[in-house]
């Protein structure tokens, strides 16, 4: 919760006002019975009509005051809680933007999403519900105690018994209910997981005719959920009845004590006093109930806050150098010098001792099995990761010596997963270069073989792209991602398996169009298809993180067994 308190500091003024307005509300609520007891004890016995109206007028004024205070409290608490949510969310989001791939891997993207979206709103809801209560309950308690004791310290003694009694009961119920509700959460997750699986596997389930098996499986967890939920509901439903019993017992106790003390100890009580004390005691106990409510909700909110804190406290492992040394006149050179890379926590390096040098106009291709480290190699170029040994040099300068913006401006990167963002086709291409002219965008789109389908879309370049680009096919997304990289006019092109969703024909014409564009640039292609990379100047064959061979197609056919095996599986004899 520390992070939350830190954010609350910005709202000291509002918080003080909340205390004041809540105090107002409380005084108004407590004042009414006080005034009523005045009516009962003084006005009615004395038949003092003037006093009735005076006290009545005062009561009404008090109610209006209470209303005003309540509304203001609501405004302030909404501002504070939503404001804290806003700034936490913004801090979290900005932090994540500058994370390196390593931190993203550490948390996983989906967990970061939950932390930014759900956890923060959890904190927000908690604050909004509890801010008022957290302030009001102690105030009510204190006011109640002061008033009760000032009316009669003897009668107030009941509290010494009732409050602990109530606390014990509530804690006992919470002890049972809290673990149950955690259990319920996992069970509902399980139900929803199975539902999701059934939805994605609808064809398979029917093809295997396992409907009965599936129904039974679901029935089991459904039954299980019902059982646990019944238990939970029946436990939490105990709260109200038990509280009513405790409260009524307390009231009865007060009245009994009053009678007893008046009879046996000669104490002098008016009936109005007794009634008022009962009401104060009720108020105090209500305050205690409200406080328990806060404590019931607190663990959830504080877990959420802690999850957010974890993110805020992790520092990106890849940072900008303090004194960038990125002066170079070279363009389009890429060098790997004895590069090794080990993922944090892994036993074996993902890449071992890789060296090569690429000059402008050259194409370097990387081929090999999945999970063999191909993507890892290209991820080192824009510093998505830093190599653990050796050096990656761009234009003769170590990538770690570059200002990151400068380095990345040199690179046109097409990731394996072609991600588009919500917006338009234009805005997605411009993501590559925000100052790109219309002509340049069109050019890039043409090179990426996307012009035809873009023009077919309603609105052409301003056609909407939905979140994640789901309204484009896989092949279209890939081509737009290529256009986004091309529009930058980079010195180094990186294609991480970026042609896989294209058919052979498109693949071929795209590469032809690209070859003109990339005349002065270095191209690095990761691929699975031999036909995509056959003409590369240099093919690097990766097997289990090690370089199994390097050379041209013809050279490798003679020297590299792994390469030969790959070729044989893909091409017919005459094509080799």
């Amino acid at each position: 919760m520390k992070v939350v308190f830190k954010e609350l500091k910005a709202y000291v003024k509002e918080l003080i006002l909340i205390v004041l307005t809540v105090l107002g509300t409380t005084l108004s609520a407590l004042g009414l019975p006080l005034l009523l007891s005045r009516l009962i004890d003084q006005a009615i016995p004395n038949k003092d009509m003037a006093m009735v109206f005076r006290v009545g007028g005062f009561m009404i004024a008090l109610v209006i005051f209470g209303l005003f205070c309540g509304v203001v409290t609501s405004r302030l608490s909404a501002t504070v809680s939503m404001g804290v949510g806003r700034s936490l969310r913004s801090k979290l989001f900005s932090k994540v933007q500058y994370f390196s791939q390593q931190e993203i891997d550490k948390f996983s993207a989906s967990s970061l999403i939950t932390r930014t979206n759900n956890d923060i709103s959890q904190v927000q809801v908690f604050l909004n519900q509890c801010l008022r209560i957290a302030v009001q309950a102690p105030i009510m308690c204190i006011c109640g105690v002061v008033l009760a004791i000032s009316s009669s310290p003897q009668l107030s003694g009941v509290l010494v018994i009732s409050i602990p009694l109530m606390a014990v009961v509530l804690v006992a119920i919470a002890k049972i209910a809290v673990p149950l509700s955690t259990k319920i959460q996992t069970k509902i997750d399980r139900i929803n997981l199975v539902m999701r699986e059934k939805l994605t596997g609808v064809r398979v389930i029917r093809a295997f005719g396992t409907v009965d098996f599936e129904t039974e499986k679901f029935d089991k967890i459904n039954r299980d959920y019902r059982k646990t939920n019944k238990k939970l509901q029946r436990t939490t439903n105990l709260v109200m009845p038990v509280l009513i019993v405790v409260l009524s017992l307390t009231a009865a106790m007060v009245m009994l004590m009053a009678a007893n003390q008046s009879l046996n100890k000669g104490m002098d009580y008016t009936i109005g006093e007794v009634m008022a004390i009962i009401q104060y005691i009720m108020q105090i106990m209500m305050a205690v109930i409200m406080l328990t409510l806060v404590f019931v909700m607190l663990p959830r909110a504080s877990t959420a806050a802690n999850r957010a804190k974890e993110v805020l406290e992790s520092e990106p492992s890849i940072k900008n150098p303090e004194n960038p040394k990125d002066n170079t006149s070279k363009r389009g050179y890429l060098t790997f010098k004895n590069v090794s890379f080990t993922y944090p926590g892994a036993d074996k390096p993902a890449i071992k001792n890789l060296s090569f040098e690429a000059k402008p106009g050259e194409t370097t291709a990387i081929i090999g099995g999945t999970g063999m480290g191909k993507s890892t190699i290209v991820n080192l170029i824009p510093r998505l990761y830093d190599c653990t040994e050796g050096q990656v040099l761009v234009d003769g300068v170590d990538v770690r010596d570059y200002d990151m913006k400068t380095l990345r401006e040199k690179i046109g990167f097409v990731p394996q997963k072609a991600v588009l963002f919500r917006g338009t086709i234009d805005s997605n291409i411009q993501f590559g270069d925000r100052n790109a002219s219309e002509e340049r965008i069109e050019e890039a789109v043409k090179i990426a073989q996307s012009y035809d389908f873009v023009m077919k879309k309603e609105g052409a370049f301003s056609a909407p792209v939905s979140q994640g680009g789901t309204n484009c096919s896989g092949g279209q997304r890939q081509r737009l991602a290529i256009a986004r990289a091309v529009v930058r006019k980079p010195e180094i092109y990186v294609f991480d398996d970026s042609f896989s969703a294209l058919d052979f024909k498109t693949d071929k014409s795209l590469r032809q169009a690209l070859s003109k564009e990339t005349e002065d640039a270095t191209v690095v292609i990761v691929a699975q298809r031999i036909s995509t990379i056959m003409e590369a100047d240099r093919i690097i064959v990766v097997e289990n993180g090690e370089v199994a061979g390097m050379g041209t197609h013809q050279e490798l056919l003679k020297s590299c067994d792994v390469y030969k095996e790959i070729v044989e599986s893909q091409l017919s004899k005459e094509e080799r």
């Binding site: 009414l32 009545g56 791939q101 539902m195 999701r196 009879l263 999945t370 990731p415």
Partner: protein, 589 residues
């Protein structure tokens, strides 16, 4: 439009109640108990008022023995009333919990069963997210609110009725004074509720936008990084975040005023009652105790109203969620199996397409006239450019969709004359979209034949070339796959689905060859496993590989959803048509 929505919601409540019918005995008992509990609760202040009156006597003139005894009597009665109230209302809520949990259980079961009865067409034409949200979120919403709202409504109803009667009994005038402010409060509150609903919807919308934005840019984090656009992304985020702040601040503020308004109008009634009560008391019309209990009643009277006001949003949400669930449950189901199902006497694996006509939409015809007979044990390759609708044929053979004209026969029997479950047992299917579920590898392979022994499963895995990699996993066959089997590689997933199909050893196979997302060595293994499986069996293969196509007895060339050319490799090359063109373009590098 709005009117329609409302009626569908009302309908939803009605139908939700109809789900409780099997438990109406319990429900009625619960209602009676809650009524009694409320009655006891309502009597309590009356006893307390009496106790107060006698206490006043005791306090005033010391040893009034009779007053003391009466005081104790009423005190005990009060305790009893509260005790009965607590006991009965607890039993009542427990009964309601039972009823609602059973109802939700039934509802979930219905939804689950519906999933298996809907035609494939439904899944193909509705968005995954929409269906998912109906069968998970909407059911959750109903589930979490049903019990709470039923109890609160019942409770509120009885409290209001009973207390109203009692208050009238004490004093008609005071009742009028005390209640007069409530309609005003309600009016203001409902105005605010309406406004806050608009704000709330707005907040929901903005939350959705923001969540979408976060999801999008976190998933695409590497793109943002490599293009160095962090600052633009943050800038846009701040805008959405500010919008959300404004919307939620206003929404929460308005919603937050509901409580103080209701409370203070009640307090206003309270103050008025005090004044008027005092006047009546001065003129001797009412005892002090009566005023005391009347004010307590007034508080109790307004409490349920405030509560119901607070849960109206919940009730609304329940209604819309239920309406969406019922919409799902009302979807048209698959055509029923025939009354007198037939089945080929001896399964050989001969498949005959007789003048097939088909289209997914009512007035659309994709396949115009497919006529081909595939002999037992033959291999049929389906080829064509991406997006040509190659899965359509599979949809038809397995009767996920029904043909619009002509007939498909297996060993002479029309597939529409067979039971679906038996028809589908004939096929083994390995698709690129490898569906595996959260469970152990053993369980997942066994899915092909639910009564297979462990040895049979391992045997199938060996044949599918999957055994080796399974043994390298921690726990081997007991390795638990995550949802979507995301903790193993794509190629490995495919090997598992092959093992699963192997285990079921069906006479006809439907295979989708691996493409680029799998590395070449795994690909070779998949290839080998598939050829092993295909030996001597009729097979349909969505082909990407020359070797597969060349030795297939039949090739179906598909484009734009229709089957345009039929033949084998030689005859189609000789024809020099679309197939020849595709073949040449793909490999003439």
């Amino acid at each position: 439009m709005k009117k329609f929505k409302k009626s569908s919601k009302n309908n939803a409540y009605k139908r939700l109640f109809s789900y409780m019918k099997p438990y109406r005995g319990k429900l009625i008992l619960a209602i009676i108990l809650i009524m009694l509990a409320n009655f006891a609760y309502a009597l309590a202040p009356l006893f307390m008022g009496n106790a107060t009156n006698f206490l006043a006597l005791v306090l005033e003139n010391g040893r009034a023995a009779q007053a003391g005894a009466d005081f104790i009597k009423f005190l005990v009665l009060m305790g009893l009333a509260y005790g009965i109230n607590s006991l009965f209302s607890y039993i009542g809520t427990c009964l309601i919990v039972g009823v609602t949990e059973n109802t939700i259980y039934d509802l979930r079961k219905k939804v689950d069963q519906k999933l298996s009865k809907l035609p494939l067409n439904y899944y193909d034409t509705n968005s995954y997210g929409d269906i998912l949200s109906r069968i998970t979120n909407d059911v959750d919403t109903v589930s979490s609110s049903l019990q709470q709202s039923i109890y609160q409504i019942l409770n509120a109803f009885f409290t209001i009725v009973i207390i109203f009667i009692i208050m009238l009994n004490i004093s008609g005038l005071l009742t009028f004074v005390g209640i007069a402010v409530i309609p005003v409060a309600l009016l203001i509150a409902s105005k605010i509720a309406k406004k806050s609903k608009v704000q709330f919807d707005n907040q929901q919308k903005k939350t959705g936008e923001l969540n979408g934005y976060v999801e999008e840019y976190y998933s695409g984090h590497n793109v943002v990084t490599v293009f160095g656009r962090e600052d633009t992304v943050i800038e846009n985020f701040e805008k959405t975040n500010d919008d959300l702040f404004e919307a939620s601040k206003d929404g929460q503020f308005l919603a937050g005023t509901l409580m103080p308004i209701m409370q203070n109008t009640t307090n206003l009634g309270y103050a008025l009652v005090c004044v008027v009560g005092a006047i009546i008391a001065i003129s001797g019309g009412l005892s002090i105790g009566m005023i005391q209990s009347f004010t307590l009643y007034l508080r109790q009277f307004s409490q349920p109203i405030t509560q119901v006001m607070q849960i109206t949003n919940v009730i609304q949400a329940t209604g819309s969620a239920a309406a969406r669930i019922f919409e799902f449950l009302d979807e048209k189901e698959e055509v029923k199996d025939t009354e007198n199902p037939k089945f080929p006497e001896k399964l050989k694996g001969e498949v005959e397409f007789e003048h097939i006509k088909f289209g997914y939409l009512p007035h659309q015809t994709l396949i115009h006239d497919l006529h081909i007979k595939i002999g037992a044990g033959e291999k049929t390759a389906i080829v064509g450019p991406t997006g040509a609708g190659k899965t359509t044929l599979i949809n038809l053979i397995m009767r996920f969709y029904d043909v619009k004209g002509g007939a498909i026969r297996i060993d002479g029997v029309d597939i529409r004359d067979m039971e679906r479950s038996r028809l589908r047992e004939i096929f083994g299917m390995v698709l690129q979209d490898t569906w595996l579920y959260n469970g152990t590898i053993m369980e997942n392979i066994r899915y092909g034949k639910l009564n297979a022994s462990d040895e049979e499963v391992i045997e199938a895995a060996k044949k599918a070339r999957a055994d080796a990699f399974i043994r390298t996993l921690p726990g081997g066959y007991n390795f638990v796959l995550q949802e979507g089997a995301s903790n193993i590689a794509q190629g490995q997933r495919q090997l598992l689905t092959i093992a699963r199909a192997m285990l079921s050893s069906p006479p006809i196979l439907i295979l989708d060859e691996a493409t680029s997302s799998v590395d070449t060595r795994t690909e070779v293994m998949i290839q080998e496993a598939m050829s092993e499986m295909m030996k001597g069996k009729t097979s349909f293969v969505i082909a990407h590989r020359l070797s597969t196509i060349k030795d297939a007895e039949n090739i179906l060339y598909m484009q734009d959803g229709d089957i345009l050319e039929v033949g084998n490799h030689e005859s189609l090359m000789a024809k020099d048509g679309l197939y020849a063109k595709l073949y040449n373009s793909q490999f003439a590098d």
